[in-house]
């Protein structure tokens, strides 16, 4: 009877001990992951490694197109995730609004090169861990170039001469996919880096200060014209073509060049025999640089209730080379963590990228993206599309692009 009396008491004591210790044993971190939709192996490894550190990672995979509205809805509802994986260009939007944790001084940040972190600082403070890079430029079919004796152009005039030569041989010079408005936005910023931001790195700030305009900047007039030149030298049905279709056609040799970024790698390497390279999009003068973009970028919510756990995961991400190598292999990405090497065979385009890095012939597109944020680029891309389709004149499109500054506000 005495033994039976002891049993309920011991159960109660055990329950009390467990209720206090269990939460401390496994901390829950909500993770909003753009990678979650591209890399199952990487995400699985990430969850396992976090578990071993006593952190339960609750991953919510998000498709890139839905990232911004979902994140903003969460912020508005007060349910912002603890850990985020978004783009480098988003730091300039979210950090000034006070939504991101200041990471300045964290020792493990030194695992990422200063050059990759420099343009993501806001008022001298660091809020981001840039994890992977994308490189942008003119991807080209090496076989077609060799067949017709074409060398990588170093000026815009040479590029157009190459396009004309290809057209004369019955080869479509450029792959484009203008059904996706973002294609126009992406290539426009690529051209602007060579034609505008190379000459004036503060052009965007001057635009918002009413000191300049799209229609008053010759560089941007040339930029818009470049988009038209690409459209004129691409498929007639480009406004019906999406990214996947364009990649497919490019691999099949239905175009010789593709102005895009290394996110196309996973589409192009489906055919292991497809040999392709990349060169910087040339400007009027020689000396254009290959565009580098901090792509997947991690951050922590400023209001997280799980700060220690989230920082633990972030430290692991910034230091675990094996994990970083997994994402290189699975997503066709380029790691920004020092010393990460992939065991897989290099992609055909890697030698051109390595050569550009070795000679410091790269430029960070964050310079442009931080000043003219993506929402702005999407708006003027629609105006460019309307111009290409004959609904506006070039001057209308340029003036309309200037007017967008009143509707796309800068971070407060």
């Amino acid at each position: 009877m005495k033994l039976l009396n002891k049993v309920p008491r011991s159960i109660a004591v055990a329950a009390l001990v467990l209720s206090v210790s269990l939460p401390a044993l496994a901390q829950n971190v909500k993770f909003f992951s753009w990678y979650g939709t591209e890399t199952e192996t990487y995400t699985g490894q990430l969850i396992e490694k976090a578990k071993k550190m006593g952190v339960t990672l609750d991953v919510e995979p998000v498709v890139w197109d839905q990232m911004q509205p979902l994140l903003q809805a969460r912020i508005a509802a007060g349910t912002m995730p603890d850990l985020l994986d978004f783009k480098g260009q988003d730091i300039a939007t979210y950090a000034p609004a006070g939504t991101l944790l200041d990471l300045t001084g964290q020792a493990w940040l030194k695992n990422i090169p200063d050059g990759a972190r420099a343009n993501l600082k806001v008022d001298g403070k660091e809020y981001a861990v840039p994890y992977t890079a994308a490189f942008q430029g003119v991807f080209y079919n090496r076989k077609i170039f060799e067949k017709f004796g074409i060398k990588a152009p170093s000026t815009y005039a040479e590029l157009m001469a190459a396009a004309a030569a290809l057209k004369a041989k019955g080869v479509t010079p450029f792959a484009t996919h203008f059904k996706d408005n973002w294609n126009i936005g992406n290539i426009t910023m690529q051209f602007a880096m060579a034609e505008v931001f190379n000459e004036n790195p503060k052009w965007g700030d001057e635009l918002y200060a009413n000191k300049t305009s799209f229609e008053g900047t010759d560089g941007y007039r040339r930029v818009f014209q470049h988009v038209k030149d690409l459209a004129d030298n691409s498929w007639k049905d480009t406004f019906s073509v999406d990214f996947t279709e364009a990649s497919k056609r490019f691999v099949k040799g239905e175009a010789a060049m593709f102005v895009t970024g290394t996110w196309v790698n996973s589409n192009l390497t489906i055919d292991p025999t497809f040999d392709y390279g990349v060169f910087p999009f040339p400007g009027a003068k020689a000396g254009a640089k290959l565009i580098f973009e901090p792509n997947h970028t991690w951050a922590v919510s400023a209001k997280t209730a799980n700060k220690a756990a989230a920082l633990k995961v972030l430290e692991m991400v910034a230091t675990d080379k094996q994990l970083a190598a997994t994402v290189v292999d699975e997503a066709g990405a380029y790691s920004l963590i020092n010393g990460v090497k992939s065991d897989k065979k290099p992609r055909p385009v890697d030698k051109d990228i390595d050569a550009a890095k070795a000679t410091n012939n790269i430029i960070d597109v964050s310079i442009g993206n931080n000043q003219i944020k993506w929402a702005y680029q999407e708006e003027y891309s629609k105006l460019i599309a309307e111009w290409l389709l004959g609904k506006r004149t070039l001057d209308d499109a340029l003036k309309g692009a200037t007017a967008v500054r009143t509707s796309v506000t800068r971070a407060k």
């Binding site: 508005a76 059904k179 019906s240 999407e378």
Partner: protein, 295 residues
């Protein structure tokens, strides 16, 4: 039926209690969100910061100066108008055709109805592939290269493309409502008219239309309101493009809220839209109810 004033106090209390749950849902689900939306429309909130400023009716002034407000509104109104006419005509035509007692009508009704069960997102993806690559490839196979069927890739034809898709998806749904209404019309009425010498057109316009008027009211109001809210189809079929040529009003509000990060302005747009839709619904009901006939 007793008038409310002649009910006892107890009966009135019972009726009030019975209506309370519905009223609560209406207040919580409709009135309070509208009030909150209106409150946000008077601020400059960015959607991601903790603070905002009261700006009065500035957002309402700003929306009236936005060219995109007018283009999105104009697109949506034309879409709603054309869709309402087309869908009603097609649905009624199909209902009359499939109201015959002949073999295969049940299967035909199922086939016509089935598309409305597919998500608008999937419908948009399917049709953008059909118009973008499948139909052109088929035509190329038959040697037809000078006619373009890529309706969704040009500003001049994108409206037609979207109307085809939307009618393909929803005509079968409204057909069922017309079918039920047609089957409720007593056959003796048609027999009497036939005996009196009324021809098929006269029977249709003098008997069928007045007697199925309640169904016409329901369909017209529903199609108009549904067309004004078109969004998912456009997201996957065209993304609002080419350019802004197929940006519906809801898509415009969404872009203002999340792409431009101006939820205050987006709320002002939404409030304006709510008022507009309310007025349209009330006007429609007043006009259409007058034409209803009951035997």
């Amino acid at each position: 039926m007793k008038r409310i004033s002649s009910l006892t106090r107890r009966q009135k209390r019972s009726l009030t209690l019975m209506a309370l749950p519905g009223l609560l849902i209406y207040v919580l689900g409709m009135l309070i969100p509208i009030a909150i939306g209106f409150a946000f429309s008077l601020t400059d909130w960015s959607g991601i910061s903790d603070s905002w400023n009261f700006v009065g009716f500035d957002n309402y002034g700003q929306l009236l100066k936005d060219e995109r407000f007018y283009s999105a509104m104009s697109f949506t109104m034309i879409f709603a108008f054309a869709n309402t006419i087309l869908q009603n005509v097609i649905a009624l035509g199909l209902a009359m055709l499939l109201n015959q007692k002949i073999r295969g009508t049940t299967m035909a009704r199922t086939v016509v109805f089935a598309p409305c069960l597919i998500s608008a997102i999937i419908v948009g993806i399917i049709w953008s592939q059909l118009f973008g690559s499948i139909f052109p490839d088929i035509m190329k196979t038959f040697g037809v290269t000078d006619i373009s069927v890529s309706l969704l890739s040009k500003p001049g034809t994108v409206m037609s493309g979207l109307l085809i898709i939307n009618n393909w998806q929803w005509a079968g749904y409204w057909m069922l409502i017309y079918l039920a209404a047609l089957q409720a019309v007593p056959p003796e009425v048609y027999e009497a008219a036939y005996i009196d010498g009324a021809g098929p057109f006269r029977r249709f316009f003098r008997i069928t239309i007045p007697l199925i008027a309640p169904a016409i009211t329901v369909n017209i109001v529903s199609i108009v309101l549904g067309s004004f809210q078109v969004y998912e189809l456009i997201v996957t079929a065209t993304g609002g493009g080419p350019g802004n040529s197929s940006e519906s009003f809801i898509m415009y509000v969404y872009n203002v809220a999340f792409a431009r990060q101006q939820p205050g302005l987006a709320s002002a747009n939404s409030m304006t839209y709510v008022v507009l839709l309310f007025v349209i619904a009330v006007v429609q009901l007043k006009i259409l109810r007058k034409r209803e006939v009951q035997i």
